[in-house]
C-alpha cells in the first residue's frame, strides 16, 4: 500500500544451532510485535525456524578456521545489505558475532546475550562485541560484575 509508514523495528535474531539457538528462542515471544527474521548455521533447523519467520543460513565457523570465518563474514554482509535490520539480537557463537559486527558497521543496534555456558567469564565473541554492543547480558551475576557494561537480567535456562 502506498503511503503506509512502517513504524516498527526490523529485528534479526541470530544464533548457532544447538544450545545458542535454544537459549535465544526462550525469549522469542518478546519480538512478536516487531518484524523479525532468523539467521542460523544448520540447514536441519531451517524447518523449525521457517514456521516463525524468514530464515537465512550462514553456516558455522570458529576461530580455528579463518577461511570459514571469511565465508561466513561475506554471507553476513549479503544479509545485512539486503535486509537492513535495525536491531540484531544474538546469543552467539562466532557466526552471531560476525553478523553483529557487520550489522553495527551498517548502523544496527546490537543486543548480545552471552550463552549460559560461559560461567566464569564472557565468551570470546562476547568480549569482542562488548565495545560495540548497545545491550549486553551475562546469565551469571558474578560474570556481569567483572565488566563495566555487562548486565545481569536473569537466566534463560
Amino acid at each position: 500500500m502506498k503511503g503506509v509508514k512502517i513504524d516498527k523495528l526490523r529485528i534479526c535474531l541470530a544464533a548457532s544451532a544447538g544450545g545458542h539457538l535454544t537459549q535465544l528462542l526462550k525469549v522469542a515471544d518478546t519480538f512478536k510485535n516487531y518484524e523479525v527474521f532468523y539467521v542460523s548455521t544448520l540447514d536441519s533447523i531451517a524447518k523449525t525456524l521457517e514456521r516463525k519467520g524468514t530464515f537465512y543460513l550462514i553456516g558455522e565457523c570458529n576461530r580455528e578456521h579463518p577461511f570459514q570465518v571469511m565465508l561466513v563474514f561475506f554471507r553476513c554482509i549479503k544479509i545485512i545489505l539486503s535486509k537492513k535490520p535495525n536491531v540484531i539480537i544474538s546469543t552467539g557463537a562466532a557466526p552471531g558475532y560476525l553478523l553483529c559486527l557487520v550489522g553495527k558497521l551498517f548502523g544496527a543496534k546490537i543486543v548480545w546475550i552471552d550463552s549460559i555456558a560461559n560461567v566464569e567469564r564472557l565468551s570470546l565473541s562476547g568480549r569482542l562485541i562488548l565495545p560495540l554492543s548497545d545491550l549486553i547480558l551475562s546469565q551469571w551475576p558474578e560474570v556481569a560484575k567483572k565488566y563495566k557494561r555487562v548486565e545481569y537480567a536473569g537466566t534463560l535456562i
Binding site: 535454544t22 526462550k26 519480538f31 535495525n86 536491531v87 536473569g154
Partner: protein
C-alpha cells in the same frame, strides 16, 4: 533405556569409547542407544547412529530413562526441562574436542548446583554410570521472563527513538 548423545557439532570418541567399553564389561546394564556424530569408530556393544533428525531426537530424549552426553548447554537444558538424570563428560581443548575448555567450567558449575553428574575422565565413567541410575537432578527455576522483560524494555526504547512511538 539410556540415551548417549554427543551433540550437533563434532564427534566425541573419548566418551563414546568409554561408554562402549563399560557396557561391554558389564551385562547388568539396560539398553543403551547412541547418537555419535560422524565418526569412524565402530561401537561393539551399543546400537548407534551418526545423526538424528530433530523429531526423532526429541522422541528418544523423551523416552529415555537417563542421559549421557558432552557438557553442552543445549543437552543440559533439555535434560533439566525433561527432568532426566544426566551424566556429562566435558570436551577438552587439549584433546581437540572443542575450541576451548568452557565445557569444563559449565560441568563444574552445574555439578555444584546439583543439576548433573560429571565424569571428568574415562576412568571415572563406570562409577558415575552406576550413580546415574539413582541420581535425582535438582530442578532449575525458569527466569526467561525476566530476561525477556529487559530486552523488551530495550526494544521499546529503540522503537521510540527511531519512530517516535
Amino acid at each position: 533405556m539410556i540415551f548417549l548423545t554427543v551433540g550437533t557439532l563434532f564427534p566425541f570418541d573419548r566418551l563414546v569409547k568409554a561408554v562402549d567399553m563399560t557396557i561391554g564389561k558389564n551385562n547388568g546394564y539396560e539398553k543403551v542407544f547412541a547418537q555419535v556424530g560422524k565418526t569412524d569408530y565402530e561401537l561393539k556393544n551399543i546400537e548407534y547412529t551418526a545423526i538424528l533428525e530433530n523429531s526423532n531426537f526429541d522422541k528418544i530424549m523423551a523416552d529415555a530413562d537417563c542421559l549421557i552426553s558432552h557438557a553442552g548447554i543445549g543437552t543440559i537444558t533439555m535434560a533439566l526441562e525433561l527432568n532426566k538424570p544426566l551424566l556429562v563428560m566435558p570436551r577438552r581443548k587439549k584433546f581437540k574436542e572443542h575450541v576451548n575448555d568452557h565445557q569444563l567450567a559449565t560441568a563444574r558449575k552445574f555439578e555444584e548446583l546439583g543439576h548433573v553428574l560429571v565424569a571428568y575422565t574415562e576412568e571415572e565413567l563406570p562409577d558415575k554410570l552406576r550413580e546415574l541410575k539413582t541420581f535425582v537432578p535438582k530442578a532449575r527455576k525458569n527466569q526467561a521472563k525476566k530476561v525477556a522483560s529487559r530486552i523488551a524494555q530495550f526494544l521499546a526504547e529503540a522503537n521510540l527513538e527511531r519512530y517516535g512511538r
